[in-house]
């Protein structure tokens, strides 16, 4: 369960109105893609959902409760860049969340607790196609591998809501389609609700169960300051995509995926 209710949210920076009267109800386990022209406030909206920014007006509820005013464990995030920690190995990056929650004082696990967490982390690392790279640092990974690592790191904490800000924007098309397959499978298998910002309309329609467009209603230069963006289109994909339910119409395209096979940017089999 992780329903998101956004009621009449406004966001202003000083004089500039960025978002105006945004209202949206996202049902549990939906996959919402946010699209819109550059600078219209998609990232701002995601930051508000994350708790990094507070709305100027309006309320946001997760499962009926107002969202906390700072980021927390219930909402995972993957940014376009800087989502992984450069000083930790792949394994260290994935483990970090568990170490935070299971070791309040020193945030480090030892002995049996660590072995169990490592085992769990390795499974997830394999699932995102990074097995063999556990001991590598992010600087030694390709862009696509780093984003998969960021996904694994966020998913390890089993967030209710996963927020993605153009997570695959910097990847080349081949790697992107592989990561789409992975994303789709993870969405089907986990319990989370996904909100993803993207510039790629095709990506939006390939992955999402619902595509929401943000736009300024008035966009003449002299009006830019005074009018914010709001939801102008809200398209539910038809036939409906439901998390965990195979699609009746095009199962290979929309249904849960079982096996992934090899990836283009998998760690080389030769070892290094």
């Amino acid at each position: 369960m992780s329903e998101l209710i956004i009621r009449n949210v406004w966001k202003e920076y000083g004089d500039q109105i960025v978002l105006e009267s945004v209202s949206l109800t996202v049902e549990s386990r939906a996959f919402v893609a946010l699209v819109g022209p550059s600078g219209c406030g998609k990232t701002t909206f995601l930051r508000i959902l994350l708790g990094q920014e507070q709305p100027t007006r309006g309320t946001i509820l997760v499962d009926g409760d107002p969202i906390p005013t700072e980021p927390g464990r219930d909402r995972g995030v993957v940014f376009q860049r800087y989502s992984v920690f450069p000083h930790l190995t792949v394994l260290g990056n994935v483990l970090l969340g568990k170490e935070f929650s299971n070791s309040r004082r020193i945030a480090k696990l030892f002995g049996v607790a660590r072995r169990n967490a490592v085992e769990e982390a390795r499974e997830l690392i394999a699932e995102v196609g990074l097995s063999g790279a556990e001991q590598k640092y992010p600087a030694q990974l390709s862009g696509g591998m780093q984003q998969r690592l960021a996904l694994a790191q966020a998913l390890f904490m089993k967030p209710k809501v996963l927020l993605l800000d153009e997570p695959f924007g910097a990847l080349d098309p081949g790697i992107r389609s592989e990561i789409h397959t992975l994303m789709k499978r993870l969405w089907h298998e986990t319990q989370m609700t996904v909100v993803m910002v993207t510039h790629d309309i095709r990506e939006a329609f390939t992955l999402a169960s619902r595509v929401v467009a943000f736009e300024r209603r008035r966009d003449r230069p002299e009006e830019k300051q005074r009018y914010g963006a709001t939801i102008t289109k809200d398209i539910s994909i038809w036939p409906p995509r439901l998390a965990g339910v195979p699609s009746k119409f095009s199962p290979d395209r929309d249904g849960p995926i079982n096996s992934l096979g090899y990836h283009r940017d998998d760690p080389a089999l030769s070892g290094e």
């Binding site: 700072e70 927390g72 464990r73 909402r75 995030v77 450069p86 970090l96 967030p159």
Partner: protein
């Protein structure tokens, strides 16, 4: 080919590296020979044999008055002061720098204060230190700390602030508390920086140490140089200066090696 694209080979590199040093020695020898032929008792530019004799005296023969091997006892006295000063500065910088960089309240309180303090010329405080703390070790170590700590604090604050906001947010979504984020995300990433910062502060630290020793001391490399100045003993001053330089160069090199060995990822990041 353009000049910016012409690169020396390995062998040429070594020759080029040695060239300035060889040139200095040759120029010095020529000058020294010229002066000594004119006046064999000239003290300004002693011959190389004169240096060898003086080094033998201070390094390998006990001082007739105290029975100590002067070069080594001076080195020990100076290094203890230097490392005590740098150690205290490093610890202070680490604690304060991180705290100021991470906590907005502490930043508002201390950031302008540290900026002002770092502008006070430390040598102007030396008389006050001597009056308040006496002429012993404490005032000398305090001078080094006052001289280098503010810069180090500011540098570390900047580094902590430079960490991409996304990383801190990500750590929050993984459930990290302020303390845990400081410990596992910020601290490991500022440690390599403090080593680099320490290397850059070696020069100023030696400066303050020698200044303090010159004014009031009964041992130390700076003390010795200023003592023998009265007898125009260039044959001792020059080797001492070279020795101090050598100590600084070696410390600098070791610190960089330590950084690469302990934080391998920091070197990867540089190349990436």
């Amino acid at each position: 080919m353009r000049w910016i694209n012409i690169k020396p080979s390995r062998g040429t590199q070594v020759i080029l590296l040695l060239l300035p040093f060889v040139l200095i020695i040759v120029a010095y020898t020529m000058g020294s020979v010229a002066r000594l032929t004119e006046n064999p008792n000239d003290k300004l530019l002693p011959s190389l044999a004169g240096f060898a004799d003086a080094i033998n005296r201070v390094a390998f023969l006990p001082d007739p008055r105290t029975g100590e091997y002067l070069l080594w006892s001076d080195t020990a006295a100076s290094l203890i002061r230097l490392f005590a000063g740098l150690g205290i500065s490093t610890l202070t910088a680490l604690l304060l720098g991180m705290a100021i960089g991470m906590l907005p309240y502490l930043r508002a309180l201390l950031s302008p204060f540290v900026a002002v303090i770092s502008m006070v010329p430390p040598l102007a405080l030396l008389p006050i230190l001597f009056i308040v703390m006496g002429l012993g070790e404490v005032s000398k170590i305090a001078l080094i700390v006052i001289g280098v700590a503010p810069t180090m604090i500011r540098d570390l604050t900047l580094k902590a602030l430079e960490l991409p906001r996304e990383q801190i947010i990500k750590a929050e979504t993984l459930g990290g508390s302020s303390w845990q984020i400081a410990l596992r995300v910020v601290l490991p990433q500022v440690l390599p920086r403090i080593i680099t910062c320490l290397r850059l502060q070696l020069g100023p630290a030696w400066l303050f140490l020698i200044a303090a020793e010159a004014i009031s001391s009964d041992s130390g490399l700076g003390y010795r140089i200023f003592l023998v100045r009265r007898y125009l003993s260039m044959d001792i001053i020059f080797p001492y200066v070279v020795w101090i330089t050598l100590l600084a160069v070696v410390t600098n090199y070791i610190l960089d090696r330590v950084r690469i060995a302990v934080f391998p990822w920091s070197e990867l990041e540089k190349q990436a």
